[in-house]
């Protein structure tokens, strides 16, 4: 009865969502990717502008996450090119083999139909840094000095914690005894250093913050870290399908010095200049060409984030409603199947959101689709559980009356049981919607956009205003949805159930 229009709208939304994703042209444009840190975003912007100058349609899927996300997206064809570092390629991407020279690396990459450009000109190697005051106090100058200070609190970026060439390898190589080692966001680590909450963190050699926070880079005296020369990784097909764009891009080879890159990072991170502007200025200075620079206004951004966020939430939630209500009905009818259904949806709920999103990448690539599937899975439990509870909570004499009247099972469900359970089911959908709106902000990590995008960029740039541009609308949307549901519950819920004498 009253549940039907909800389902129809939901189906429509899912179809629309599918249509949007299916209609993306496969090859008419070149897609540049970048990692979730400033330097990668600047390089991505630079590439986008250079390729765009060669009059090809080009998009930049910025801030996609870490190496695994980008490499996965490149192999899946979700992106065509992204900036990478030779050290990362050797240690992380091709880590299972011993590769010594560039020729061997190229050969290994060729097996994946991926090619590597010549170095862009700077070496952004990993390093470990401390505040100058603290380092001088303890008389620490090199990495091997750390051995005699086992009580130091270390805070490393999550990726550095996980990588084979990161903390685990470093600790083994130098015999570092430290036990107070935490993983945290790279940008938050600087703030932790400044606040004195951690004593040392991993750095990139071109980080703008080294000067800003007055840090010392500890000398890698036993030469643990390999070279991290910046290069382009691109799909081999690009050479035949878009040779002009590719040769435009290769003009960057050998043109970006360590000093220039550090300066560009500092302009974005410390002076708050948009990465697109910094990249455009560099290209103008270096190659003398005027790249058209149309920075979207804050209002444009807001509407785009809202549109993306609503698409994520509406399509995943309506799909969840369509699937979860029948599952809840089955669970309420068949106790054994019910146990299985409730357990499985419960287990899905315990998977950390970030992990679930990353699991989706090998299956569905990056962008909206994997985020919608992950959000869909997350939205199941509250709706399944409430449908189950709502149906099980119907007084037995009402069910008996419906049976005794001669209503067959399906009509009983439609005319009596679902309307009686409707308030509980709606409460479940409301819970799912509110959780969904919050969780959808993580979608930005795999390129799905939404309100998570300004939050992500804000964290990267240490820009509280930008973080609020995502966090406030997300919170408002959650409150709005909650309010709409409460009104809807009053309208939709059967009158006789709410009126109390």
């Amino acid at each position: 009865m009253s549940a039907m229009p909800v389902c129809n709208n939901a189906a429509l939304t899912v179809l629309l969502a599918c249509a949007v994703f299916a209609s993306m042209p496969a090859r008419a444009e070149i897609r540049v990717g970048s990692k979730q840190f400033t330097e990668s975003v600047i390089l991505g912007e630079g590439a986008t502008r250079l390729i765009g100058h060669a009059s090809v349609r080009v998009t930049h899927r910025a801030e996609l996450g870490g190496t695994r996300t980008l490499w996965g997206a490149l192999l899946a064809g979700d992106i065509d090119i992204y900036p990478e570092y030779t050290g990362t390629i050797v240690q992380e991407i091709l880590g299972h083999r011993a590769l010594t020279d560039t020729r061997a690396i190229r050969a290994a990459l060729a097996e994946y139909d991926v090619r590597m450009s010549a170095p862009l000109g700077f070496n952004n190697t990993y390093a470990v840094g401390m505040r100058r005051v603290r380092a001088e106090q303890l008389n620490i100058r090199k990495l091997s000095d750390l051995v005699s200070h086992p009580k130091l609190r270390l805070g490393f970026s999550s990726e550095f914690m996980d990588r084979a060439d990161g903390w685990p390898g470093l600790a083994r190589y130098y015999g570092l005894p430290h036990t107070d080692v935490r993983g945290l966001d790279h940008d938050l680590a600087y703030r932790g250093l400044e606040a004195g909450e951690i004593d040392a963190t991993d750095l990139y050699a071109t980080d703008a913050e080294i000067r800003y926070y007055d840090l010392v880079v500890l000398e890698d005296d036993r030469h643990y870290f390999p070279a991290y020369d910046a290069v382009w990784l691109y799909r081999a097909t690009l050479a035949t399908e878009a040779p002009r764009s590719l040769s435009a891009l290769m003009r960057l080879e050998g043109h970006v010095s360590q000093g220039e890159m550090t300066a560009m990072n500092a302009r974005v991170k410390l002076d708050g200049v948009p990465a697109a502007r910094v990249a455009a200025d560099f290209l103008k200075r270096e190659f003398g060409f005027e790249a058209r620079l149309e920075l979207p206004s804050a209002t444009d951004d807001f509407f785009r984030y809202t549109r993306e966020h609503l698409l994520l939430v509406l399509s995943s939630l309506s799909a969840a409603v369509i699937v979860a209500i029948p599952l809840g009905i089955v669970a309420a009818r068949k106790p054994r199947a019910g146990q299985v259904i409730l357990s499985i949806t419960g287990i899905i709920q315990t998977i950390p959101a970030l992990a679930l999103l990353v699991f989706m990448i090998p299956l569905l690539g990056i962008g909206g689709a994997p985020a919608i599937v992950a959000l869909f899975l997350y939205s199941l439990l509250p709706i399944v559980r409430n449908t189950y509870t709502g149906l099980r909570g119907i007084p037995p004499q009402l069910t008996e009356s419906a049976v005794a009247l001669g209503l067959p099972a399906l009509s009983r469900l439609r005319l009596v049981e679902l309307p009686l359970a409707l308030p509980t089911i709606l409460a479940g959908i409301k819970t799912s919607a509110v959780i969904n709106i919050g969780t959808a902000t993580l979608g930005a990590l795999i390129g799905a956009g939404g309100y998570g995008q300004p939050i992500l960029t804000g964290i990267r740039l240490d820009d509280t205003g930008l973080i609020l541009q995502g966090a406030v609308p997300a919170a408002m949307l959650a409150l709005l949805v909650q309010g709409v549901f409460e009104l809807g519950e009053r309208w939709l819920a059967p009158k006789g159930l709410s009126a109390r004498r």
Binding site: S401, L420, L422
Partner: protein
């Protein structure tokens, strides 16, 4: 069964043969043979746990027997034909069992709408039933929570009668009402039953109520039928010590 009655006067509407029903290890009904006569009022009575409600539920197949058969108008009642045959029975439970999300009118009209009666036919029938049960017209627009206990039972009776069934099954229909209303409604109900000339099967634990309504009383104890007969029959010739004791316990309430 200690004593057998003679063959029933009218044709049987329900015929139970060797019906046994267990709940786990406890036996709710033990090898019951019973026929229920057409156009008469049969009252099932007994202490709590005697199986009287279980027996009523078997008649409308809310539960199925473990062994034995229940026949309704010469057909065995099965899971397959139950939904259709139930439309020829009207069932009323203690609290009325009205659906709280539907108005009184929609409760009454639910099955007729499901069977796609046209609106004028539904309106005429609801009007007719409201007159029979003395339900005020404005009560039809209200939801069950907005009705008094007596009105709820009237609506429940209307719903049971909507499709003009052959049989009315009532499970303690007056049990939840206070004594004054109960007294009034007893009289009205008896008049309605007589006027409609339907087969009625009613469950109660109150001997005076049973005597008031019944053509035949079926007294039950621990899943068995102890005695079957008129009230006079029970009072004059109790079948065993239990019947005597049951009558004595309730005697004060018999007018």
């Amino acid at each position: 069964m200690s004593r057998r009655e003679g063959p029933p006067a009218g044709a049987a509407v329900f015929e139970l043969a060797g019906v046994t029903r267990r709940y786990g290890t406890s036996v709710a009904l033990a090898r019951i043979d019973l026929s229920i006569e057409k156009a008469r009022t049969t009252v099932l009575i007994g202490p709590s746990g005697s199986g009287k409600s279980t027996l009523l539920r078997l008649l409308v197949r809310l539960i199925a027997p473990d062994t034995g058969t229940v026949r309704f108008e010469d057909q065995p009642l099965t899971d397959d034909n139950a939904a259709v045959l139930r439309q020829r029975m009207g069932f009323v439970v203690q609290e009325g069992g009205l659906f709280p999300h539907l108005s009184a009118h929609d409760n009454v009209a639910l099955m007729a709408r499901y069977l796609r009666w046209d609106t004028s036919r539904i309106a005429a029938r609801v009007h007719e039933l409201a007159a029979i049960t003395h339900l005020p017209a404005d009560a039809l627009r209200r939801f069950p929570v907005e009705l008094s206990g007596g009105q709820r039972q009237r609506v429940s009776l209307m719903r049971a009668l909507m499709l003009d069934p052959d049989v009315l099954l009532l499970d303690e229909p007056l049990g939840a009402l206070d004594p004054m209303i109960r007294f009034d409604l007893q009289n009205e109900l008896r008049d309605i039953f007589r006027g409609l000339n339907k087969t009625v099967v009613m469950v109660t634990h109150d001997l005076s109520e049973a005597g008031f309504f019944a053509d035949t009383i079926v007294l039950m104890r621990e899943g068995r039928i102890v005695q079957r007969g008129s009230l006079t029959n029970l009072l004059r010739a109790p079948a065993d010590a239990f019947v005597e004791q049951f009558i004595r316990a309730q005697r004060s309430s018999i007018v």
